[in-house]
């Protein structure tokens, strides 16, 4: 019986460890500095995490499906530059759907390569990281992109506006998280993603169209990237063409921190959101106790490895690895 309870607690910690850590961490920082839990501070943190957060939602789908997406950073630069450029030529009403169309086309291309041609996703998206970056540089002619008339456009509402006092990026991030969470947990499509990522062969044998499922995970990822690009462009109304550089690995770190396995078949949207918030609040908390922003990278490093290590340790039942 005692063993059962211990197992129960251990199992709970293994399943919800990241949530427990998050709560402990929030309480700790709140005790250290009252300002940490002020509502405007919390809004500020979530708002600045929203862009990476939206991308992390899409990457979660890809990772659960058993693949990787390293192209999201480049793709986000692409959509930001494209929407800013088209804003001045087509006007914002047309620029936004055009940018979504182009970004989704890139996602469809990756989805085709990984899903239907069954090429290794790490290399394909690594190649696309480089290729899309080249595309962005060519599009922008190596220049920074700025909206000519920053005062006279309504385009800023996505990044700067608010709904009933809640900043718009939070509204978009939250809505997207809820919708995608429902897609993942309540629809047959969501179940198929878990099946394909958990055991692709078994999924194929049970009649799940593996290629199509993988294809759609990349489309969803591209949609999220386009949304992130829209937020970024709308917030700054101008951008360097390297804006998303390096985001791909940071986003992946958030997803892993949330507990998705790189082998596929596990992870949830809610956990990814927690991963995103941990990133945001660690940075903010460290700033509030007077440390530089880059200290967070070192802390995140420790947190990621500890989180994944404990997760694995709980599964194999021993702390140290069996590698001789």
């Amino acid at each position: 019986m005692a063993e059962l309870t211990k197992k129960g607690i251990g199992g709970f910690l293994a399943r919800q460890g990241i949530l427990v850590a998050f709560v402990l961490f929030m309480v700790g920082f709140a005790l250290a500095n009252q300002r940490f839990i002020a509502i405007d501070n919390i809004f500020g943190v979530i708002r600045s995490s929203a862009i990476l957060g939206v991308m992390a939602l899409g990457v979660t789908f890809v990772v659960i499906g058993g693949n990787l997406d390293l192209s999201v950073g480049s793709m986000m630069s692409f959509s930001t530059i494209v929407v800013l450029d088209l804003h001045d030529t087509l006007g914002p009403t047309l620029a936004i759907p055009a940018m979504f169309g182009l970004t989704l086309a890139l996602g469809a291309f990756i989805g085709f390569l990984v899903g239907y041609l069954k090429l290794n996703s790490l290399i394909v998206t690594l190649g696309m990281l480089s290729a899309i970056h080249g595309l962005t540089l060519t599009w922008s002619g190596g220049q920074n992109m700025d909206i000519a008339d920053k005062e006279g456009t309504w385009f800023g509402i996505f990044g700067r506006g608010d709904v009933l006092g809640v900043p718009m990026p939070i509204v978009i991030f939250g809505t997207l998280a809820i919708v995608l969470s429902l897609v993942l947990s309540k629809t047959p499509f969501g179940r198929k993603i878990y099946a394909v990522g958990g055991n692709g062969q078994a999924a194929t044998f049970s009649g799940i169209p593996r290629a199509r499922v993988v294809f759609f995970t990349y489309l969803i990822s591209a949609f999220c990237v386009a949304t992130a690009g829209l937020l970024q462009a709308s917030r700054s109304l101008g951008s360097q063409n390297t804006v998303g550089q390096g985001y791909e690995l940071e986003v992946l770190a958030m997803v892993i921190l949330g507990g998705a396995s790189l082998l596929g078949g596990s992870g949830t949207i809610i956990k990814t959101v927690i991963g995103v918030l941990i990133f945001g609040f660690i940075e903010n908390g460290l700033l509030l106790i007077g440390l530089e922003f880059y200290v967070q990278d070192v802390v995140i490093w420790a947190v990621i490895i500890l989180a994944v290590w404990l997760d694995i340790a709980a599964k194999r039942g021993r702390l140290w690895s069996p590698i001789a």
């Binding site: 290794n120 190649g127 480089s130 970056h133 550089q245 994944v308 194999r316 140290w320 690895s321």
Partner: protein
């Protein structure tokens, strides 16, 4: 048996065939499109090309061994930057300044030691926790970069030592110092991978880890050693490069890991481990640099190089799979 060796030769030759193709293409296209009068296959141009491929090249050579092991290292760019900062900063320490030119080997030593220690941290974590190398080094990529920023804030670290610059710009038998380092490292690693027990074990572990364990190979220490090696090489790459430039920004080396991996994959090394060659990686490194220079030569925007390399990488992956599948079907018959 004979068939297998011929197929291996074909595979390893592919990258060199590609390089010849590139040379031919850019030479011919250069006649019509070039913005300058000099031929593309100009001897000095080729020497410069080798020198310019050294920084990524030295890292990519180390990455080959890591990937033959079935691991990956995403933290090399940050290691590169930290080693560079340690080298340049250490020369301004008071006791080092009293040493005159003897400070140089010492500064190199500090930088290389930094690389080895960072590599050892990765290796120990991979060994002891059993967490996948991809995740461990993804974490340390952030962490090491944080250390880089903590060292000197967002300021660039600069120190110009003219003896060092002369050394880095020197040419011996026509080759620049950096090129010698690249070729030297390639030679040593080639010997290690083909002639030593360590090299044979690397292939064995990458091919089938369980079988390797059963055969009595100690996988953990082997991993540790290879991560220390790539840390050392990332640092070596940094000292060679920054001896000449003398100034490092905290963002330097970003995405180097991805360039290095691209070169290794172009060279035909398998991500899953167990297959790959140092010489082919050298080919991959040269092919990328050739493409970069060649596109510049025929007057294409330098930006297009990213586009072309990305698409070539995907094409290589596709062709490789088609060829391999064909090979398997032939076996069945």
């Amino acid at each position: 048996m004979k068939m297998a060796t011929r197929k291996d030769l074909l595979k390893q030759g592919a990258i060199w065939g590609f390089i010849v193709l590139e040379l031919a293409f850019f030479s011919i296209a250069g006649n019509y499109l070039s913005v300058t009068d000099t031929a593309f296959m100009d001897f000095d141009n080729m020497l410069l090309l080798l020198k310019q491929s050294a920084p990524i090249g030295i890292i990519a050579l180390g990455m080959t061994i890591i990937m033959i092991n079935g691991n990956i290292d995403l933290s090399v760019g940050a290691t590169f930057a930290l080693a560079a900062i340690v080298m340049l900063d250490s020369m301004t320490w008071p006791f080092m300044q009293n040493l005159g030119d003897w400070a140089i080997p010492l500064a190199w030593g500090f930088a290389l030691l930094t690389g080895v220690v960072l590599g050892a941290i990765n290796g120990l974590i991979v060994w002891k926790t059993g967490v996948d190398a991809f995740i461990v080094t993804l974490g340390s990529m952030l962490g090491f970069r944080g250390l880089v920023f903590m060292y000197n804030g967002e300021q660039p670290t600069s120190h110009l030592n003219w003896t060092l610059v002369d050394f880095a710009e020197a040419q011996f038998l026509g080759l620049h110092t950096a090129s010698w380092f690249l070729l030297g490292v390639a030679l040593i690693l080639w010997l290690v991978m083909t002639k030593t027990v360590h090299g044979r074990n690397a292939y064995a572990i990458g091919n089938n880890r369980d079988a390797a364990v059963n055969a009595g190979i100690r996988v953990g220490p082997h991993f540790l050693l290879n991560f220390m090696l790539i840390g050392f090489l990332a640092a070596l790459s940094a000292v060679v490069f920054y001896s000449e430039s003398g100034s490092v920004n905290p963002n330097d080396g970003m995405l180097y890991e991805l360039w290095a991996i691209t070169a290794v994959v172009l060279g035909g090394t398998k991500l899953a481990g167990g297959y790959g060659s140092i010489i082919s990686t050298l080919g991959g490194v040269i092919a990328i640099q050739l493409l970069r220079k060649g596109l510049g030569h025929i007057g294409a925007d330098t930006e297009t190089v990213n586009l072309v390399i990305g698409l070539i990488l995907i094409a290589v992956l596709f062709l490789d799979r088609q060829l391999n599948r064909k090979g398997k079907e032939e076996l069945k018959i």
